[in-house]
């Protein structure tokens, strides 16, 4: 068959499960050297692209071949990790592609910048493959710490400095929360291997210690997810950081939190449900409540935003709320559709950020009012932006609609039986109705309102390419969701065992 993972295994031997990360790590290490040697950002970007593509290649081979393997009891590669790795790779690819021509990214430290990007990606992928609390923690921290620096690395913008401070403080706080939770979990289960933890809990049942562990971890991961009330940093950081970085955070590091949630809680709860050692319904309710609050706050507050980056930040908070439905419903179908929504979200939200970044690069402001008459000045960009925003709002036949349809329907139905979460689906659907309002405001500014100038805009090629890619995916995934959805289904079943 075409997809044969034996290449990977033959090259990497026992390290095969983490092969995609290894490639990136190597890239991260050589990056500063390359920049030092060539002093050309293009070269760096080229190398980065090459590395990322190789890693994508490996991952695709393994994923399509259905490869499974584990390393040292710390990492285990399965369909789930494969899909999530693919997602992170997509994010890093787009980010690295556009960073080179963005006017906001650093000039002098470009090599470092790139290696930090790759390192952050590696951290995320660690979380995706981790089978042990330690690796999860390390992965998250790797991703977080690097992204603190990435945020700070914007040239000559006081807002970036401020954003970085906020980010690092709240990040550290949530790290502490996470670590505390992990420690309690360790104490409860007496081991750090997730599978063993699940097994242990499913025998000994619920305990308050576990409750504390869960809450603190929810808070910790909630920071990454930007779930209300742990979201407050997100708008400021997204606004302050360089737009490619904002996109990286909004589409990538947000997902890390979900991966961790799935990895730890889903596994535990499923095991617990299997042995009926304790009822997980209460936990599910907690997640349902958080989800409802998150999506509502995100959407409602987004309405009053005038800065488009902040608006997108709030909208991605809302999206996080949608995805949290998975944790509430906790069915295989829900997980699959949740992962699918993460994927489409990468391209919708990513695309929107890309457009913003491109326009900032050519000197158009971040205010929605700055977008007046854009349709005349850059028809393609305006149209792409419209598609991304409508996709986020869930207008058919775009990707956002299809994934939302899967996701919301999962809250209504689980093979043949109505679930008890219909009310959640109601809230979610009404929310996406509200969201249409502020997305439309941008579209209106671009198409309806008259701009003060009409001269054409030429955006950098890499931006154009990245936008085009996301555009294609948004359309294609909307019409042919199966391309990804099947993988997601496998992944879900892999996680559910």
């Amino acid at each position: 068959m075409i997809f044969d993972s034996s290449i990977v295994t033959s090259v990497f031997g026992q390290f095969a499960p983490i092969a995609p990360m290894i490639v990136l790590i190597i890239g991260a290490l050589v990056m500063p050297a390359v920049f030092f040697a060539t002093k050309r950002r293009g070269a760096v970007t080229g190398v980065a692209m090459a590395v990322i593509l190789i890693s994508i290649l490996f991952n695709v081979l393994m994923l399509a071949d259905g490869y499974q393997g584990e390393y040292a009891g710390l990492f285990a590669y399965d369909a789930f990790s494969g899909v999530m790795i693919l997602l992170f790779q997509a994010v890093i690819f787009l980010t690295a592609l556009v960073s080179v021509s963005s006017s906001e990214t650093t000039r002098m430290h470009y090599g470092a910048y790139n290696s930090l990007l790759l390192a952050a990606a590696v951290g995320m992928m660690f979380v995706a493959t981790a089978s042990d609390l330690i690796t999860i923690f390390l992965g998250i921290e790797l991703a977080s710490i690097t992204s603190y620096v990435l945020v700070a690395m914007k040239r000559s913008d006081p807002r970036a400095a401020e954003a970085a401070v906020k980010y690092v403080i709240i990040g550290g706080l949530s790290t502490a929360l996470t670590l505390y939770g992990l420690s309690m979990l360790y104490g409860v289960a007496g081991t750090t291997n997730i599978a063993d933890i699940a097994a242990a809990l499913s025998t000994q049942g619920f305990s308050w210690a576990f409750g504390i562990a869960m809450i603190t971890m929810i808070a910790g991961f909630g920071f990454k997810i930007a779930a209300v009330p742990f979201h407050a940093w997100a708008p400021d950081v997204y606004e302050g950081a360089a737009t490619p970085v904002s996109m990286f955070l909004g589409t990538g590091s947000k997902k890390v939190g979900f991966v961790a949630l799935f990895k730890i809680f889903l596994v535990i709860f499923v095991a617990a449900n299997a042995t009926a050692s304790f009822a997980t319904e209460e936990m599910q309710y907690i997640f349902a409540i958080i989800a409802a609050i998150t999506m509502t706050v995100g959407n409602v507050v987004a309405i009053s935003q005038t800065n488009i980056k902040r608006m997108l930040a709030y909208s991605s908070i809302a999206q996080a709320g949608y995805i949290l439905i998975v944790m509430a419903v906790m069915t295989e179908y829900a997980l699959a559709s949740g992962m699918f929504h993460m994927f489409t979200h990468v391209f919708m939200k990513g695309g929107a950020f890309l457009v913003v970044g491109a326009l900032i690069t050519v000197g158009i402001g971040e205010k929605i009012s700055d977008y007046r008459g854009l349709a005349k000045r850059a028809p393609f960009i305006a149209f792409a932006m419209t598609v991304f925003l409508f996709a986020l709002a869930g207008i058919p036949p775009l990707a956002g609609f299809t994934s939302k349809l899967f996701l919301f329907s999962s809250a209504i139905y689980d093979n043949g039986v109505m679930t008890q979460w219909i009310w959640l689906a109601f809230i979610a659907i009404l929310n996406s109705a509200i969201s249409l309002y502020y997305y439309t405001r941008v579209v209106k500014a671009m198409y309806i309102e008259k701009g003060d100038t009409a001269e054409r805009i030429r955006i950098p090629k890499t931006f154009a390419a990245a936008i085009a890619i996301s555009f294609v995916f948004v359309i294609v995934l909307g019409v042919f969701p199966q391309l990804i959805m099947d993988f997601c289904a496998d992944a879900a079943s892999a996680l559910f065992g």
Partner: protein, 505 residues
């Protein structure tokens, strides 16, 4: 069938979607210097579509055009690409093809960004055709939403002074409704799912609908009904309509009133009645009530209007209320004439809105108090306007009358069965009111002393393209009025079978 085509066109229904889509793109390409060709491109493509839709009318067995391909099959879901045409949809398809073409002809004089304008019209057509031919809830919903966006842009680009407000209102309001409808669709699809597979196709849902309990039916009927009622629109969920109409460009209003509103009643018949008969039984009195409310409320609102177009908009609310009660009778006659009224009102409202549009752009105002004695200045315009108004107030011999006659008769049937014959008086009252506001409007605009409130020097009578478009529709109105069977014969079978499935004849 009065005349049968000897041949079949393969993939006809797909063509009905593809041709306008291609047309939209081609027209969009007609920017810049090529702008003057935009209308011809649009005309050609919409013309082809119309011809294709007319082919259906002369096809003895519509089932030969059914198309069915599995589309998405994953994680326990199956969406398919299924297109069908039956007695319910055939007239709507024809109407869509006809009105899009004619509104293209009508707006041939469009100067401002014509390529966008016509491209939007064609894009609309894609969605409308899709809604009326789709036989899969996924496809149906997609098409349902697809119609929104072109209309939003039509209003907010080519609309009147308050177009932003109107466009957003239309967009959000109807979108909320569609989302509520979506929940209902989820409910029926998943409720009907069997073997862990939720099949979105109409027939699968219909087959699975046997298991629905009555509480389920009543609740879900409510959801779906709200979704469709907003589109129809039914009092009190109608307020987006007058604003949208007043601001929309003429062609937009024509499609909005002529075809888009029908999506609501179409959905009620297609989804609510076919799938949820018990729910329909339960909701019957409520539907009757709001139907009558809409009829009379709409008619009264018309009397109070100052803007000609707004009056017409309210009149369509009143007429759709008629469709409502007719559907609510749940009888063979009721459904038959509900569909017929959808068709009839589609034709008539097209004339009315075209006339209002002309009043807007060739006289310069639609404000009734500013007009008067126009008939002397613009005899042809006056003739068309009078024809439209007469048709709309149900003058016998024109298509509107038969629809109203059948509807009220079916309602009389219902009224007798619940023995409240006096209810019929309300319908007759609304007929009287209808005549009242139309005649009063004509007296104040066409007749009486020639107005001196506006500058009449520049006004010109109907232009050729406008005359052609109007003439064709008026001819059809008269034709179907003299020979209603031309349309009724399509509906008959469907209506009686549906009524049978509802358990009432």
């Amino acid at each position: 069938m009065f005349f049968e085509l000897p041949f079949e066109i393969p993939y006809l229904l797909t063509l009905l979607l593809v041709v306008p889509l291609v047309g939209a793109m081609a027209t969009l390409a007609m920017g810049g210097e090529r702008q003057k060709y935009a209308k011809y491109t649009a005309g050609v493509f919409s013309g082809i579509t119309m011809v294709l839709s007319m082919v259906l009318l002369f096809t003895p067995d519509l089932s030969v055009y059914n198309e069915s391909h599995t589309w998405i099959e994953t994680a326990g879901l199956r969406m398919s690409y299924i297109l069908t045409v039956d007695g319910l949809s055939i007239l709507m398809v024809f109407l869509t093809g006809l009105l899009v073409f004619l509104s293209t002809v009508f707006s041939a004089r469009e100067k401002d960004k014509p390529h966008y304008f016509f491209a939007l019209l064609l894009a609309m057509e894609v969605g409308l055709m899709g809604v009326y031919t789709a036989a899969d809830y996924f496809l149906f919903y997609i098409m349902w939403e697809v119609t929104l966006i072109p209309m939003y842009f039509l209003i907010s680009w080519f609309g009147g002074p308050r177009r932003h407000y109107a466009a957003i209102k239309f967009f959000i309001y109807t979108h909320v409704a569609s989302l509520v409808m979506l929940i209902g669709i989820f409910a029926i699809v998943f409720g009907a799912a069997s073997g862990g597979v939720a099949d979105f196709s109409f027939e699968a849902v219909l087959a699975g609908s046997a298991v629905f309990g009555s509480t389920f039916q009543i609740l879900v009927f409510g959801l779906l009904f709200f979704g469709f009622a907003v589109k129809m629109p039914i009092v009190p969920f109608h307020t987006w309509l007058p604003d949208a109409h007043v601001e929309a460009p003429t062609a937009g209003s024509v499609l909005l009133a002529g075809v888009m509103l029908k999506m609501g009643s179409y959905g009620i018949i297609r989804v609510c009645l076919e799938v949820l008969p018990e729910g329909a039984q339960y909701w019957q009195p409520i539907m009757i009530f709001i139907g009558i409310l809409a009829m009379i409320y709409g008619a009264y609102a018309c009397i109070a209007q100052k803007d000609l177009k707004k009056m017409v908009a309210f009149s369509s609310i009143s007429h759709m209320g008629m469709v409502m009660i007719s559907i609510a009778c749940l009888s063979s006659i009721g459904i038959q004439f509900a569909i017929f009224q959808m068709f009839a009102h589609g034709l008539i409202s097209a004339v009315l809105f075209m006339v209002c549009g002309m009043a807007g752009h060739s006289i310069g105002t639609r404000e009734i108090p500013l007009l008067g004695g126009i008939a002397g200045k613009m005899p042809v315009f006056a003739a068309f306007m009078m024809f439209g108004f007469m048709a709309s107030l149900g003058l016998p011999g024109l298509v509107g009358f038969w629809a109203e006659f059948g509807i009220i008769f079916s309602f009389y049937d219902y009224a007798v069965s619940v023995d409240m014959i006096w209810l019929i008086a309300l319908c007759l009252l609304s007929l009287l009111l209808t005549a009242g506001y139309y005649l009063w409007a004509m007296q104040r605009t066409l007749f009486g002393r020639l107005t001196n409130k506006i500058d009449l020097s520049h006004i010109h009578d109907v232009s050729r393209p406008e005359a052609i478009a109007l003439g064709v529709i008026c001819a059809l109105i008269a034709l179907y009025g003299l020979w209603p069977d031309l349309a009724l014969s399509y509906i008959d079978g469907y209506a009686s079978s549906l009524a049978a499935s509802l358990g009432v004849i």
